[in-house]
Amino acid sequence: MTTATYRESMRNVWWAAALAVLVGCGGSAYSYADEAGGTHGSARSAPSYDYRSEGGAAETVAASAPMPMADMEMSLGSSSGSGDFDDWESVEEEPEPQAAMEPAPERQQLAQAQPSGGQGATGTATQAQQQQATDAVDLSQPLLIYTAHLVLGVYEVEATQEAILGVVREVEGFLAQRSDQVIVVRVPAAQFQTALDRIEDAGDVLSRNVEAQDISEEYRDLAIRIRNAEAMRDRLERLLQQANTVEAALSVERELQRITEMIERMKGRLRFLSDRVAFSTITINFRALTQGEQINQDPFRLPFGWLDQLGLSTLLSL
Protein backbone atom coordinates (compact mmCIF):
# COMPACT_ATOMS: atom_id res chain seq x y z
CA MET A 1 0.00 0.00 0.00
CA THR A 2 1.43 3.34 -0.98
CA THR A 3 1.57 6.23 1.39
CA ALA A 4 -1.02 8.10 -0.63
CA THR A 5 -3.39 5.14 -0.62
CA TYR A 6 -2.90 4.68 3.07
CA ARG A 7 -3.68 8.34 3.75
CA GLU A 8 -6.80 8.12 1.64
CA SER A 9 -7.93 5.03 3.47
CA MET A 10 -7.36 6.65 6.84
CA ARG A 11 -9.20 9.76 5.67
CA ASN A 12 -12.29 7.67 4.95
CA VAL A 13 -12.06 6.00 8.32
CA TRP A 14 -12.02 9.40 9.98
CA TRP A 15 -15.03 10.50 7.95
CA ALA A 16 -16.97 7.43 8.98
CA ALA A 17 -16.05 7.97 12.58
CA ALA A 18 -17.04 11.61 12.56
CA LEU A 19 -20.33 10.85 10.88
CA ALA A 20 -21.13 8.03 13.25
CA VAL A 21 -20.58 10.27 16.23
CA LEU A 22 -22.63 13.08 14.74
CA VAL A 23 -25.70 11.02 13.99
CA GLY A 24 -25.53 8.67 16.90
CA CYS A 25 -25.04 5.65 14.68
CA GLY A 26 -28.20 6.21 12.76
CA GLY A 27 -30.54 6.05 15.70
CA SER A 28 -33.03 8.69 16.64
CA ALA A 29 -31.71 8.87 20.11
CA TYR A 30 -31.40 12.54 20.80
CA SER A 31 -30.89 13.30 24.38
CA TYR A 32 -32.08 16.60 25.60
CA ALA A 33 -32.65 18.30 28.86
CA ASP A 34 -35.87 19.86 29.88
CA GLU A 35 -36.34 22.97 31.92
CA ALA A 36 -36.36 21.03 35.11
CA GLY A 37 -32.95 19.72 34.37
CA GLY A 38 -34.07 16.22 33.57
CA THR A 39 -32.83 14.39 30.57
CA HIS A 40 -34.92 12.68 27.94
CA GLY A 41 -33.89 10.19 25.40
CA SER A 42 -34.16 6.61 24.38
CA ALA A 43 -30.60 5.59 25.07
CA ARG A 44 -29.42 5.94 28.58
CA SER A 45 -26.61 3.44 28.54
CA ALA A 46 -24.60 4.96 25.77
CA PRO A 47 -22.15 7.73 26.41
CA SER A 48 -23.00 11.29 25.55
CA TYR A 49 -21.08 13.67 23.39
CA ASP A 50 -21.07 17.38 23.54
CA TYR A 51 -20.86 19.44 20.42
CA ARG A 52 -20.20 23.09 20.57
CA SER A 53 -21.93 25.02 17.92
CA GLU A 54 -20.87 28.32 16.47
CA GLY A 55 -22.97 30.21 18.95
CA GLY A 56 -21.34 28.46 21.83
CA ALA A 57 -24.42 26.54 22.85
CA ALA A 58 -24.08 22.85 23.31
CA GLU A 59 -26.42 20.03 22.55
CA THR A 60 -26.02 16.58 23.86
CA VAL A 61 -26.30 13.71 21.50
CA ALA A 62 -26.32 10.25 22.90
CA ALA A 63 -25.27 7.23 20.98
CA SER A 64 -28.05 4.71 20.94
CA ALA A 65 -25.96 1.68 20.23
CA PRO A 66 -22.55 0.47 21.07
CA MET A 67 -20.08 2.33 18.94
CA PRO A 68 -16.70 1.23 17.84
CA MET A 69 -15.44 4.64 18.77
CA ALA A 70 -17.59 5.15 21.80
CA ASP A 71 -14.85 6.88 23.66
CA MET A 72 -14.37 9.43 20.97
CA GLU A 73 -15.25 12.97 21.91
CA MET A 74 -15.06 15.53 19.22
CA SER A 75 -15.96 19.08 18.66
CA LEU A 76 -16.04 21.19 15.57
CA GLY A 77 -13.06 23.42 15.82
CA SER A 78 -13.92 26.18 13.45
CA SER A 79 -16.73 27.05 11.18
CA SER A 80 -14.27 28.15 8.57
CA GLY A 81 -12.09 25.12 8.73
CA SER A 82 -9.70 24.16 6.05
CA GLY A 83 -11.69 21.13 5.09
CA ASP A 84 -9.12 18.75 6.45
CA PHE A 85 -9.64 16.30 9.26
CA ASP A 86 -6.93 18.09 11.11
CA ASP A 87 -9.60 20.60 12.05
CA TRP A 88 -11.24 18.03 14.27
CA GLU A 89 -9.70 17.59 17.61
CA SER A 90 -10.40 15.43 20.55
CA VAL A 91 -11.59 17.25 23.64
CA GLU A 92 -12.59 16.37 27.13
CA GLU A 93 -16.29 16.09 27.83
CA GLU A 94 -17.46 19.45 29.06
CA PRO A 95 -20.79 19.64 30.85
CA GLU A 96 -22.91 22.50 29.65
CA PRO A 97 -25.48 24.41 31.62
CA GLN A 98 -28.97 22.99 31.23
CA ALA A 99 -30.23 26.38 30.19
CA ALA A 100 -28.39 25.96 26.94
CA MET A 101 -30.74 23.14 26.08
CA GLU A 102 -33.90 25.15 26.36
CA PRO A 103 -35.58 26.24 23.19
CA ALA A 104 -34.48 29.61 21.98
CA PRO A 105 -37.23 32.18 21.48
CA GLU A 106 -36.95 31.89 17.73
CA ARG A 107 -37.45 28.16 18.05
CA GLN A 108 -40.48 28.69 20.20
CA GLN A 109 -41.99 30.53 17.33
CA LEU A 110 -41.28 27.67 15.03
CA ALA A 111 -44.59 25.97 15.41
CA GLN A 112 -46.42 29.18 14.84
CA ALA A 113 -44.87 29.87 11.52
CA GLN A 114 -47.35 27.91 9.48
CA PRO A 115 -50.87 26.90 10.39
CA SER A 116 -52.01 23.54 9.28
CA GLY A 117 -54.57 24.99 6.96
CA GLY A 118 -57.68 23.65 8.56
CA GLN A 119 -58.83 20.12 9.00
CA GLY A 120 -61.09 19.52 6.14
CA ALA A 121 -61.82 20.39 2.61
CA THR A 122 -65.05 21.99 3.70
CA GLY A 123 -63.27 24.39 6.04
CA THR A 124 -64.30 27.95 5.53
CA ALA A 125 -61.58 29.79 7.42
CA THR A 126 -59.07 31.81 5.53
CA GLN A 127 -55.40 31.12 5.96
CA ALA A 128 -55.06 34.54 7.52
CA GLN A 129 -57.68 33.75 10.14
CA GLN A 130 -55.99 30.53 11.07
CA GLN A 131 -52.58 32.15 11.07
CA GLN A 132 -53.85 34.83 13.41
CA ALA A 133 -55.26 32.31 15.84
CA THR A 134 -52.25 30.05 15.60
CA ASP A 135 -49.98 32.97 16.33
CA ALA A 136 -51.92 33.44 19.52
CA VAL A 137 -50.38 30.35 21.10
CA ASP A 138 -49.00 31.51 24.41
CA LEU A 139 -46.00 29.40 25.31
CA SER A 140 -45.80 30.88 28.79
CA GLN A 141 -49.06 29.12 29.69
CA PRO A 142 -49.86 25.42 29.77
CA LEU A 143 -50.66 24.29 26.25
CA LEU A 144 -54.07 22.70 26.30
CA ILE A 145 -56.03 21.14 23.48
CA TYR A 146 -59.74 21.53 24.14
CA THR A 147 -62.22 19.23 22.47
CA ALA A 148 -65.93 18.86 23.02
CA HIS A 149 -68.49 16.38 21.75
CA LEU A 150 -72.15 17.27 22.06
CA VAL A 151 -75.34 15.50 21.18
CA LEU A 152 -78.07 18.07 20.70
CA GLY A 153 -81.74 17.34 20.42
CA VAL A 154 -83.25 19.90 18.05
CA TYR A 155 -86.47 20.37 16.17
CA GLU A 156 -84.91 21.79 13.05
CA VAL A 157 -81.56 20.29 12.29
CA GLU A 158 -80.64 22.43 9.31
CA ALA A 159 -81.78 25.70 10.85
CA THR A 160 -79.98 24.87 14.07
CA GLN A 161 -76.82 24.04 12.15
CA GLU A 162 -77.00 27.42 10.47
CA ALA A 163 -77.52 29.12 13.81
CA ILE A 164 -74.49 27.34 15.24
CA LEU A 165 -72.40 28.29 12.24
CA GLY A 166 -73.44 31.87 12.88
CA VAL A 167 -72.09 31.60 16.40
CA VAL A 168 -68.88 30.07 15.07
CA ARG A 169 -68.43 32.91 12.61
CA GLU A 170 -68.97 35.46 15.38
CA VAL A 171 -66.13 34.01 17.42
CA GLU A 172 -63.95 33.85 14.30
CA GLY A 173 -63.98 30.10 14.10
CA PHE A 174 -64.60 27.99 11.05
CA LEU A 175 -66.45 24.94 9.83
CA ALA A 176 -64.28 21.85 9.53
CA GLN A 177 -66.82 19.22 8.54
CA ARG A 178 -70.52 19.05 7.89
CA SER A 179 -72.99 16.30 7.17
CA ASP A 180 -76.73 15.92 7.66
CA GLN A 181 -76.46 15.02 11.31
CA VAL A 182 -72.97 16.12 12.34
CA ILE A 183 -70.94 19.25 12.14
CA VAL A 184 -67.41 19.79 13.35
CA VAL A 185 -66.33 23.33 14.04
CA ARG A 186 -63.05 24.84 15.15
CA VAL A 187 -63.04 27.93 17.33
CA PRO A 188 -60.19 29.97 18.81
CA ALA A 189 -59.28 28.45 22.15
CA ALA A 190 -59.95 31.72 23.94
CA GLN A 191 -63.54 31.58 22.69
CA PHE A 192 -64.07 27.88 23.43
CA GLN A 193 -66.27 28.24 26.49
CA THR A 194 -68.28 31.08 25.02
CA ALA A 195 -68.89 29.15 21.83
CA LEU A 196 -69.75 25.99 23.73
CA ASP A 197 -72.29 27.79 25.92
CA ARG A 198 -73.97 29.37 22.93
CA ILE A 199 -74.01 26.15 20.95
CA GLU A 200 -75.61 24.33 23.87
CA ASP A 201 -78.33 26.97 23.92
CA ALA A 202 -79.30 26.02 20.38
CA GLY A 203 -80.90 22.77 21.45
CA ASP A 204 -81.37 20.29 24.23
CA VAL A 205 -78.07 18.84 25.34
CA LEU A 206 -78.52 15.07 25.42
CA SER A 207 -74.86 14.29 25.91
CA ARG A 208 -71.76 16.33 26.58
CA ASN A 209 -68.09 15.37 26.71
CA VAL A 210 -65.44 18.04 27.16
CA GLU A 211 -61.73 17.28 27.37
CA ALA A 212 -58.60 19.33 27.92
CA GLN A 213 -55.34 17.63 26.97
CA ASP A 214 -52.10 19.13 28.25
CA ILE A 215 -49.43 18.88 25.57
CA SER A 216 -46.95 21.32 27.12
CA GLU A 217 -44.31 18.69 27.69
CA GLU A 218 -44.59 17.15 24.26
CA TYR A 219 -44.50 20.57 22.65
CA ARG A 220 -41.44 21.69 24.57
CA ASP A 221 -39.62 18.42 23.98
CA LEU A 222 -40.39 18.57 20.31
CA ALA A 223 -39.07 22.11 20.04
CA ILE A 224 -35.82 21.08 21.68
CA ARG A 225 -35.44 18.02 19.47
CA ILE A 226 -35.94 20.18 16.42
CA ARG A 227 -33.34 22.60 17.61
CA ASN A 228 -30.85 19.82 18.20
CA ALA A 229 -31.58 18.21 14.86
CA GLU A 230 -31.17 21.50 13.06
CA ALA A 231 -27.82 22.06 14.73
CA MET A 232 -26.81 18.60 13.60
CA ARG A 233 -27.98 19.31 10.10
CA ASP A 234 -25.86 22.46 10.04
CA ARG A 235 -22.81 20.50 11.02
CA LEU A 236 -23.50 17.86 8.44
CA GLU A 237 -23.73 20.57 5.82
CA ARG A 238 -20.36 21.85 6.86
CA LEU A 239 -19.01 18.34 6.80
CA LEU A 240 -20.35 17.94 3.31
CA GLN A 241 -18.48 21.01 2.21
CA GLN A 242 -15.33 19.57 3.62
CA ALA A 243 -15.74 16.14 2.04
CA ASN A 244 -13.10 15.51 -0.54
CA THR A 245 -14.04 12.05 -1.67
CA VAL A 246 -17.19 10.88 -3.40
CA GLU A 247 -17.75 8.13 -0.88
CA ALA A 248 -17.54 10.51 2.05
CA ALA A 249 -19.81 13.03 0.38
CA LEU A 250 -22.44 10.39 -0.38
CA SER A 251 -22.31 9.13 3.16
CA VAL A 252 -22.85 12.61 4.58
CA GLU A 253 -25.58 13.36 2.09
CA ARG A 254 -27.51 10.27 3.07
CA GLU A 255 -27.38 11.27 6.66
CA LEU A 256 -28.23 14.84 5.80
CA GLN A 257 -31.33 13.69 3.97
CA ARG A 258 -32.42 11.54 6.86
CA ILE A 259 -31.97 14.36 9.35
CA THR A 260 -33.79 16.81 7.10
CA GLU A 261 -36.76 14.47 6.73
CA MET A 262 -36.83 13.95 10.45
CA ILE A 263 -36.81 17.70 11.06
CA GLU A 264 -39.70 18.18 8.66
CA ARG A 265 -41.70 15.46 10.38
CA MET A 266 -41.12 17.04 13.77
CA LYS A 267 -41.95 20.48 12.46
CA GLY A 268 -45.14 19.09 11.00
CA ARG A 269 -46.08 17.60 14.34
CA LEU A 270 -45.31 20.91 16.04
CA ARG A 271 -47.52 22.77 13.59
CA PHE A 272 -50.28 20.25 14.17
CA LEU A 273 -50.04 20.73 17.92
CA SER A 274 -49.98 24.51 17.55
CA ASP A 275 -53.09 24.40 15.44
CA ARG A 276 -54.88 22.12 17.89
CA VAL A 277 -53.96 24.41 20.77
CA ALA A 278 -54.95 27.56 18.93
CA PHE A 279 -58.27 26.16 17.69
CA SER A 280 -60.48 24.03 19.86
CA THR A 281 -62.61 21.40 18.17
CA ILE A 282 -66.32 21.05 18.85
CA THR A 283 -68.20 18.14 17.33
CA ILE A 284 -71.98 18.38 17.40
CA ASN A 285 -74.22 15.43 16.65
CA PHE A 286 -77.83 16.39 16.03
CA ARG A 287 -80.79 14.33 16.98
CA ALA A 288 -83.97 15.48 15.31
CA LEU A 289 -86.85 15.74 17.73
CA THR A 290 -90.37 15.17 16.57
CA GLN A 291 -93.14 17.65 17.13
CA GLY A 292 -94.22 17.67 20.72
CA GLU A 293 -91.37 15.51 21.90
CA GLN A 294 -90.13 16.87 25.15
CA ILE A 295 -86.69 16.21 26.41
CA ASN A 296 -87.14 17.79 29.76
CA GLN A 297 -90.17 16.37 31.48
CA ASP A 298 -89.90 18.93 34.20
CA PRO A 299 -93.25 19.27 35.95
CA PHE A 300 -92.37 22.78 37.06
CA ARG A 301 -94.54 25.40 35.48
CA LEU A 302 -94.46 29.14 36.08
CA PRO A 303 -97.80 30.51 37.23
CA PHE A 304 -98.16 33.03 34.42
CA GLY A 305 -100.91 32.11 32.06
CA TRP A 306 -99.75 34.31 29.22
CA LEU A 307 -96.59 32.25 28.87
CA ASP A 308 -98.73 29.27 27.89
CA GLN A 309 -100.43 31.35 25.25
CA LEU A 310 -97.19 32.10 23.47
CA GLY A 311 -96.55 30.35 20.21
CA LEU A 312 -97.34 30.34 16.55
CA SER A 313 -100.73 28.74 16.96
CA THR A 314 -102.02 31.73 18.87
CA LEU A 315 -100.20 34.36 16.84
CA LEU A 316 -101.30 33.04 13.47
CA SER A 317 -104.94 32.42 14.44
CA LEU A 318 -106.42 35.61 13.05
Binding site: A159, Q294, L315
Partner: protein, 154 residues
Protein backbone atom coordinates in the same frame (compact mmCIF):
# COMPACT_ATOMS: atom_id res chain seq x y z
CA UNK B 1 -93.93 53.61 4.28
CA UNK B 2 -97.48 54.28 5.18
CA UNK B 3 -97.42 55.31 8.78
CA UNK B 4 -100.10 53.35 10.47
CA UNK B 5 -99.98 54.19 14.09
CA UNK B 6 -101.62 51.83 16.50
CA UNK B 7 -102.53 53.69 19.61
CA UNK B 8 -103.53 51.36 22.36
CA UNK B 9 -104.03 53.67 25.26
CA UNK B 10 -107.78 53.72 25.00
CA UNK B 11 -107.97 49.97 24.68
CA UNK B 12 -105.73 49.51 27.64
CA UNK B 13 -107.71 51.87 29.76
CA UNK B 14 -110.89 50.07 28.79
CA UNK B 15 -109.43 46.73 29.60
CA UNK B 16 -107.97 47.94 32.89
CA UNK B 17 -104.40 47.08 32.09
CA UNK B 18 -102.95 49.81 34.24
CA UNK B 19 -102.53 52.45 31.60
CA UNK B 20 -99.51 51.02 29.78
CA UNK B 21 -99.32 52.11 26.18
CA UNK B 22 -97.22 51.16 23.23
CA UNK B 23 -96.95 52.45 19.74
CA UNK B 24 -95.50 50.53 16.86
CA UNK B 25 -95.17 51.47 13.21
CA UNK B 26 -96.22 48.51 11.13
CA UNK B 27 -94.64 47.88 7.70
CA UNK B 28 -96.28 49.19 4.54
CA UNK B 29 -97.41 45.80 3.36
CA UNK B 30 -99.03 44.96 6.68
CA UNK B 31 -102.51 45.84 7.82
CA UNK B 32 -103.55 46.34 11.41
CA UNK B 33 -106.45 44.10 12.27
CA UNK B 34 -109.10 46.24 13.83
CA UNK B 35 -110.48 43.85 16.33
CA UNK B 36 -110.39 43.52 20.04
CA UNK B 37 -108.16 40.59 20.83
CA UNK B 38 -108.29 38.82 24.10
CA UNK B 39 -104.57 38.29 24.26
CA UNK B 40 -103.12 40.99 22.07
CA UNK B 41 -103.17 44.74 22.12
CA UNK B 42 -102.50 44.77 18.43
CA UNK B 43 -102.04 42.36 15.59
CA UNK B 44 -101.06 43.05 12.03
CA UNK B 45 -100.50 40.77 9.07
CA UNK B 46 -99.30 40.93 5.52
CA UNK B 47 -101.06 39.23 2.65
CA UNK B 48 -98.78 36.22 2.74
CA UNK B 49 -99.16 35.24 6.36
CA UNK B 50 -96.40 37.01 8.28
CA UNK B 51 -97.98 38.25 11.49
CA UNK B 52 -96.97 40.81 14.10
CA UNK B 53 -98.53 40.96 17.53
CA UNK B 54 -98.04 43.02 20.67
CA UNK B 55 -99.00 41.90 24.15
CA UNK B 56 -98.85 44.03 27.25
CA UNK B 57 -98.82 42.04 30.44
CA UNK B 58 -98.89 43.33 33.99
CA UNK B 59 -95.57 42.88 35.66
CA UNK B 60 -97.14 42.35 39.06
CA UNK B 61 -94.24 40.28 40.25
CA UNK B 62 -91.76 42.96 39.16
CA UNK B 63 -89.74 40.48 37.19
CA UNK B 64 -86.62 41.75 35.46
CA UNK B 65 -85.95 41.50 31.73
CA UNK B 66 -83.64 38.54 32.25
CA UNK B 67 -86.28 36.76 34.32
CA UNK B 68 -88.90 37.06 31.61
CA UNK B 69 -86.43 36.18 28.88
CA UNK B 70 -85.57 32.96 30.69
CA UNK B 71 -89.22 32.24 31.38
CA UNK B 72 -90.15 32.61 27.72
CA UNK B 73 -87.12 30.69 26.57
CA UNK B 74 -87.81 27.76 28.87
CA UNK B 75 -91.48 27.73 28.07
CA UNK B 76 -91.01 27.59 24.34
CA UNK B 77 -88.02 25.31 24.26
CA UNK B 78 -88.94 22.83 26.92
CA UNK B 79 -92.66 22.73 26.48
CA UNK B 80 -93.38 24.15 23.10
CA UNK B 81 -90.98 22.31 20.83
CA UNK B 82 -89.29 25.47 19.60
CA UNK B 83 -85.61 25.63 18.75
CA UNK B 84 -83.82 28.76 19.85
CA UNK B 85 -81.86 29.79 16.79
CA UNK B 86 -80.59 33.18 17.84
CA UNK B 87 -80.94 35.79 20.53
CA UNK B 88 -79.76 39.35 20.84
CA UNK B 89 -80.24 42.55 22.73
CA UNK B 90 -82.40 45.15 21.02
CA UNK B 91 -83.51 48.69 21.68
CA UNK B 92 -86.89 50.30 21.23
CA UNK B 93 -87.30 53.70 19.60
CA UNK B 94 -88.22 55.04 23.01
CA UNK B 95 -84.82 54.01 24.32
CA UNK B 96 -85.92 50.98 26.31
CA UNK B 97 -83.60 47.99 26.22
CA UNK B 98 -85.07 44.67 25.26
CA UNK B 99 -84.11 41.17 24.24
CA UNK B 100 -85.09 39.23 21.15
CA UNK B 101 -85.41 35.46 20.90
CA UNK B 102 -85.61 33.92 17.43
CA UNK B 103 -87.06 30.44 17.33
CA UNK B 104 -87.56 27.88 14.64
CA UNK B 105 -90.43 25.44 14.61
CA UNK B 106 -91.78 22.71 12.36
CA UNK B 107 -95.49 22.56 12.01
CA UNK B 108 -97.57 20.51 9.59
CA UNK B 109 -94.50 19.63 7.61
CA UNK B 110 -93.50 23.26 7.13
CA UNK B 111 -90.77 25.30 8.70
CA UNK B 112 -91.78 28.40 10.64
CA UNK B 113 -89.98 31.31 12.20
CA UNK B 114 -91.18 32.77 15.47
CA UNK B 115 -89.65 35.80 17.18
CA UNK B 116 -90.41 36.98 20.69
CA UNK B 117 -89.07 40.37 21.68
CA UNK B 118 -89.40 41.46 25.29
CA UNK B 119 -89.27 44.89 26.88
CA UNK B 120 -89.82 45.21 30.59
CA UNK B 121 -90.75 48.18 32.74
CA UNK B 122 -91.50 48.05 36.45
CA UNK B 123 -95.21 47.81 35.66
CA UNK B 124 -95.50 46.08 32.31
CA UNK B 125 -93.98 43.35 30.17
CA UNK B 126 -94.22 44.23 26.49
CA UNK B 127 -94.13 41.18 24.27
CA UNK B 128 -93.75 41.69 20.55
CA UNK B 129 -94.33 38.48 18.60
CA UNK B 130 -93.65 37.96 14.94
CA UNK B 131 -93.84 34.82 12.89
CA UNK B 132 -94.87 32.96 9.80
CA UNK B 133 -93.74 30.30 7.39
CA UNK B 134 -90.01 30.59 6.91
CA UNK B 135 -90.05 31.57 3.24
CA UNK B 136 -92.73 34.20 3.87
CA UNK B 137 -91.21 35.53 7.03
CA UNK B 138 -87.69 35.79 5.67
CA UNK B 139 -88.97 38.00 2.89
CA UNK B 140 -90.65 40.28 5.43
CA UNK B 141 -87.84 40.08 7.97
CA UNK B 142 -86.16 43.45 7.33
CA UNK B 143 -89.46 45.28 7.65
CA UNK B 144 -90.41 43.33 10.75
CA UNK B 145 -87.10 44.31 12.31
CA UNK B 146 -87.82 47.96 11.50
CA UNK B 147 -91.26 47.69 13.02
CA UNK B 148 -89.93 46.23 16.25
CA UNK B 149 -87.26 48.92 16.43
CA UNK B 150 -89.98 51.56 16.05
CA UNK B 151 -91.73 50.52 19.25
CA UNK B 152 -92.34 53.32 21.68
CA UNK B 153 -93.25 52.63 25.27
CA UNK B 154 -94.84 55.23 27.49
Amino acid sequence: MTMLRSIFAALLLLSGCGGATSDLTVPDDFVVLDEEWEDYQMRATNAHGAVLGVREVDNDVEGSLSFWVDAVKNRLRNRGGYALLEESDVSAASGHDGHQLRFGHDQNGSSYQYWVTLFVTPDTVYVVEAGGRTEVFEEAQPRVEQAIASLRLD
